[in-house]
Amino acid sequence: MRIETLLRPASLEDAYKAYANDKTAVLFAGGAWNKLALKEVKTAILLDDLGLGTIEAGEKTVEIGAMATLSDVAEHPAVQSLYRGMLSRACRHVMGITLENVATIGGSVMGGYAFSDIVTPLLAMDVTLRFHKHEPMKLADYLVRKTNFRDIFVAVSVPRRSGRGVFRKIARTRLDFAILNLAVTNVNGLYAIAVGARPGIARLAASAMDRLNEINPVSLYDIEHAAADAAAELDFGTNSRAAEDYRRALAKIHVFRALKEVTFDENQR
């Protein structure tokens, strides 16, 4: 990669000014896929020195700094305690320890990678994104609006809810991008269903969730219908890894299994 100018700001404000004032500037927040995505960069801004790599467990939320690596996230006890360790497991299913030591939460979210195995569980966990200047924004809103403001993503705020969670990555091998991934959570009977790598970036199956959340208690029959609803309402596509119909069929059965697990599996209680 050819980088004309490299900036290594010492403060968040300096980084923000450099980024906001130069439309050609690119933020470097890790290193996992920069090389594949970029060949020539006029101005690169390294975020290494901004202290954004911390993970702090508060009373109501766990704040994961944008520069926390996937390994940092996977190993942190507070993250492991969320949704039965769903996010930790997702971070450990990316592509092996070397990549997980350089890929960051910030890069995973802001990179907007459709194949991301991280955005999907974050979406199901109802996280909020925190920026240096802009108001906090729910990840679900951010993904739908495709917001493209020039701000520094600072942290992701994960609500500390006592819930169950399941993450699944369906891929040919551990080193392949997912054919499909999904995350399902259940917080006291309120469900969230996120499906990613369809091959588009993760989306919530909002209608299926709404219908399921009106039922209490849910039965196996309700879950089966919710899985079919989710597969029907989400858009799927075809690429070199899988066809649209195959992805839809996978979503139906895997969402069903995940819902079953977060509802009935004794190990999840």
Partner: protein, 150 residues
């Protein structure tokens, strides 16, 4: 740009371009155990340890290593010899191209999870590809190395 890096226990200064990757900087310094593989973060051949953690040097900007500590297999010669012995004993060694990267990953594993289970060993090494010897014999060799007293 000037960077100062501790490489295998010795503080060294490098003059790097902003877009240089660690694999090139280290090989330029004569550390040829650091090998180029897929060059796209996928195969693990270029693994080095930065502050004790395995990272893909093909995708790690050299500038990010400023002030950090790097280990290549040249810096763990005695441990690498023990690992090589185990690999030889289990028939886990063939062309040898991936050996330095696997040795570093295994070295880091022993320091991070000395009592790693077979599943944890597989998990740790999933990103280190070997295309000739087979993983079952590697697993046996690594288990044997982990069980060895320091």
């Amino acid at each position: 740009m000037k960077i100062s890096v501790e490489v295998n226990g010795l503080r060294r200064a490098f003059d790097v371009e902003p877009g240089d990757y660690l694999v090139d900087t280290l090989r330029g310094a004569g550390l040829f155990s650091v090998r180029r593989g897929c060059d796209s973060t996928s195969c693990g051949i270029c693994t080095v340890l930065v502050d004790g953690r395995p990272v893909p040097s093909c995708s790690y900007l050299s500038i990010r290593a400023d002030g950090r500590s790097i280990l290549t297999v040249e810096g763990i010669a005695s441990e690498a010899a023990k690992i090589a012995d185990r690999f030889g004993a289990e028939g886990a060694d063939q062309c040898g191209y991936c050996n330095p990267s696997v040795a570093l990953a295994v070295y880091a594993l022993k320091r991070t999870k000395p009592k790693a289970s077979d599943d944890e060993i597989r998990e740790w090494l999933v990103g280190n590809l070997c295309r000739c010897s087979g993983y079952q014999s590697q697993l046996a060799a690594i288990r044997s190395y982990l069980e060895e007293r320091p």
